[in-house]
Symmetry: C2
Subunit: 295 residues, 2 copies
């Protein structure tokens, strides 16, 4: 084999791997097929001091949240975490980096997702933690996408919505990995689309509607409000709930084995957009009701 | 199956995956075994404005470097890239985020490594790009570790060392993926340890010595200096070369099919540490000669 043929062979080997993107950007995770036909879930997520947590927050809780919210994206695909990586940008003189990485390592381990690598850099500015995770799709159901809602599906959420930021609960979230796996086991093909409610039930349900090419109608009276939440219109726009929102063909079970309640909050119809019906019969557009992490 | 047994089953499934860490933190990439016995290389890397590039640098070059230096870690393990993720933290009002992501996408694609997901957040502070990559180990050689140098090995580098920052070449680096794959093909079991020279030949060779439990002796006169480098002691401490440093049982080929020269710069001995012999016969400790990204 001459040199150019050899290099062509090397590049071809890479190109073959590169061709295996099954789901690209736009869902909670990408899905990439690797050698042996194994599918991987891949996701990355940033936690920024002053945006996602207050300066001065205990680094143990900060590190845990950074990992947990990344793994919430694995849960949103119905997957199980395999391993994660963490990168931190901190100020010069910041003396809690060890504590941060210890917290990320412990949290990752507690979620069955070993922290296998990291990077640290110094910069003027807030602390930024970037966690990237690899997961495995559910072996039976496969990746659960945002795009699989169909007219006739019921729209369901685990847990409760709203009050997570005001109460501080957002710092102690547990990603709904067990519930997601159990939903895949239990519902199989009856499970339609799924997403985690990170930015607000309104905009996250709107993402499901847009990805699936359907209309989602939420019933305000049905939304289970979290402790500290009083107004449903505020609750669906707050975000940081990290609950699962999924669509289901037929009635879902009333709760998961973990004890997490499951509530039907709406339905999927033909059409487009995401609206909420209020007690007075009026209908409001909620597809934009959420928290813009970049805003 | 009752609820607790079901949950135990779900957690056990995750725990089984979690047990598959073959190489944890401390090498250029972690190695994780997933379903089907497939091994993955995993790495994450940050590029910080003001530390790894000057403010005002063209975003096309910045985005490319962010991807390229992450994939240099895949090359350092002898692997081929499979897919990558990118996260960016930028200032409010920063209007080149699209350009940054376009550049990262194009660079990733050019290296055979599709960018499959991303995240963007706003923060007061410099732009921080975090790229995480998944790779596949060389199918024949397997992951090439820092820990596999043995007394008697020759120490070799691709390309040239020094001058990368002063010349601006560091912004246009091409990760040595083709050369790394070819070294695995060509040398097989004769290839010992490998690392990429990102922080300085001195400290990176020192890392190989420490990981392998050996002593590395570099011959100053043998180090091929890059354009713009004049002093070998400065050159081995500059970093940002992104060349491969590897150990070889027997003589290496003089160059790779890509044209990259391969130079024997030293040898591996029993003992510990990393030193350089100078023209006057003196010996200097160089294990600390490098650029501390966190300093």
């Amino acid at each position: 084999m001459d040199e150019s043929a050899l290099l062509a062979h090397i590049y071809e080997r890479s190109a073959g791997l590169a061709g295996a993107v099954r789901v690209g950007p736009g869902d909670d995770c990408a899905v990439v097929r690797v050698a042996g036909g194994t599918d991987l879930l891949l996701t990355t997520d940033q936690l920024v001091e002053g945006r996602h947590y207050e300066p001065g927050t205990d680094v143990g809780r900060v590190g845990r949240k950074a990992v947990a919210r990344c793994l919430s994206d694995i849960a949103a695909m119905g997957g199980s975490p395999v391993a994660c990586l963490a990168a931190a940008t901190v100020r010069a003189g910041f003396n809690e980096a060890d504590g941060l990485f210890d917290a990320m390592r412990a949290a990752a381990s507690s979620f069955g997702c070993p922290l296998v690598g990291g990077d640290i850099a110094i910069a003027r500015g807030p602390t930024v933690l970037t966690v990237s995770a690899v997961g495995a799709p559910h072996p039976g159901r496969g990746p659960v996408l945002r795009a699989d809602a169909r007219p006739g599906d019921l729209v369901c959420v685990t847990g409760a919505i709203g009050g997570a930021v005001a109460s501080g609960r957002h710092l102690d979230l547990t990603p709904r990995l067990a519930e997601a796996a159990w939903l895949c086991d239990e519902l199989g093909a009856r499970l339609g689309a799924m997403i985690d409610v990170s930015d607000g039930l309104g905009c996250d349900a709107g993402r499901v509607a847009a990805a699936s090419g359907v209309r989602v109608v939420i019933d305000a009276a049905a939304v289970p409000l979290g402790v500290g939440a009083t107004d449903v219109r505020a609750a669906i726009a707050e975000g940081e709930d990290y609950e699962l929102l999924f669509t289901c063909r037929g009635a879902p079970p009333p709760s998961a084995p973990t004890g997490a309640p499951i509530t039907v909050v709406g339905r999927v119809e033909s059409g487009a957009g995401c609206v909420m019906t209020l007690a007075d019969g009026s209908i409001v557009d909620i597809a934009g009701a959420g928290w813009d992490h970049t805003g």
